[in-house]
């Protein structure tokens, strides 16, 4: 595997800040395209920030999160996120991912605008980030839910094309 980054462990404020700093400097080694560099950073930043906020909300401070990014021979970067999720949130999250995966670019942009206009910044933010990821990657966000003895988890796979448009 040609890893660009790999992290497994709890996500504290300090860890999050350090990982975001690392990814910012790593992207220049992957592509000269400023647009793609920013997109790599954006995807990483959004999924990490969403997990961080969600863990605070759910009081999951010690749960492990895995986030890997590896370069594929077909000039794509695959992000794999493994994150804890409460059983009660699985259905809502699944429905939301299905909704945004089913939309074309026009539909995603309309939903993005609608989310920006929503008053509740806290609930809207996670939604905006995932919609933006769908728009920037032009690929569906693949997911899988896993159950184990202590906590359920969700695995997200996000594929970003590294070729500039």
């Amino acid at each position: 595997m040609n890893y660009l980054f790999s992290y497994s462990g709890p996500i504290s404020f300090t860890v999050k800040r350090q990982l975001l700093r690392n990814i910012k400097s790593n992207t220049e080694a992957v592509t000269k395209s400023v647009l793609i560099q920013k997109r790599i950073r954006y995807v990483f930043d959004e999924i990490l920030s969403n997990v961080y906020e969600y863990y605070i909300q759910q009081n999951f401070p010690n749960e492990t999160t895995g986030i890997d990014g590896y370069l594929k021979p077909n000039n794509t970067l695959e992000f794999i996120l493994i994150s804890a999720i409460s059983e009660a949130d699985e259905e809502v999250f699944k429905n939301y991912l299905n909704q945004i995966n089913a939309l074309d670019e026009k539909g995603l942009k309309e939903l993005h605008k609608k989310k920006l206009k929503e008053n509740n910044a806290q609930t809207a933010n996670a939604g905006i980030g995932l919609i933006s990821i769908r728009i920037k990657t032009a690929n569906p966000i693949l997911y899988e839910f896993k159950k184990n003895k202590t906590v359920n988890s969700v695995v997200l796979k996000i594929v970003l094309n590294l070729k500039d448009e």
Binding site: F13, R17, L20, R21, S33, V34, L35, K38, R39, R41, Y42, D45, E46, S49, K109, H112, K113, L116, K117, A121, A124, N125, A126, I128, G129, S132, K136, D164, E165
Partner: protein, 134 residues
């Protein structure tokens, strides 16, 4: 009222809200750890500025031409939402000034930031000038 100036950090933009020089700019990266906290002080300043413009209108019948320049090279989703709220707040200044324009600059190649500007231009009733910074 005082002018409002914040230096840029690696996660927050430089903010210049200087009513004395008639210079209003937000330049840099917008991904603050606490977006609400960061933007609250900006919103407070704009509220004060709105009152100041109202006073100018009534007392001296002066109406200003205002241009707010945004040159953001990275925006997180939470900062994007607050940027929209900021633009909504600026829209409230419109009746109090001669003209109000948003100058939205983006780095060359950064079509995502250009798209953000285009999207915002359809969401608030303020004229936008959207152009590449280089």
């Amino acid at each position: 009222m005082n002018k409002f100036i914040l230096d840029a950090t690696d996660t927050t933009p430089r903010v210049v809200l200087d009513h004395l020089e008639n210079k209003f700019e937000i330049i840099g990266e917008a991904c603050p750890e606490d977006a609400k906290l960061f933007y609250t002080s900006i919103f407070t300043w704009v509220d004060q500025y709105k009152n100041y413009l109202y006073f100018l209108n009534n007392e001296s019948h002066v109406k200003k031409n205002l241009t707010f320049t945004f040159h953001l090279n990275y925006v997180s989703s939470s900062a994007l939402k607050y940027t929209y709220n900021f633009l909504q707040q600026l829209e409230e200044l419109k009746p109090l000034c001669e003209s109000l324009t948003i100058k939205w600059l983006y780095d060359k190649e950064d079509t995502d930031m250009e798209d953000n500007g285009k999207e915002f231009s359809t969401m608030v009733n303020i004229p936008f000038i959207i152009e590449s910074a280089s």
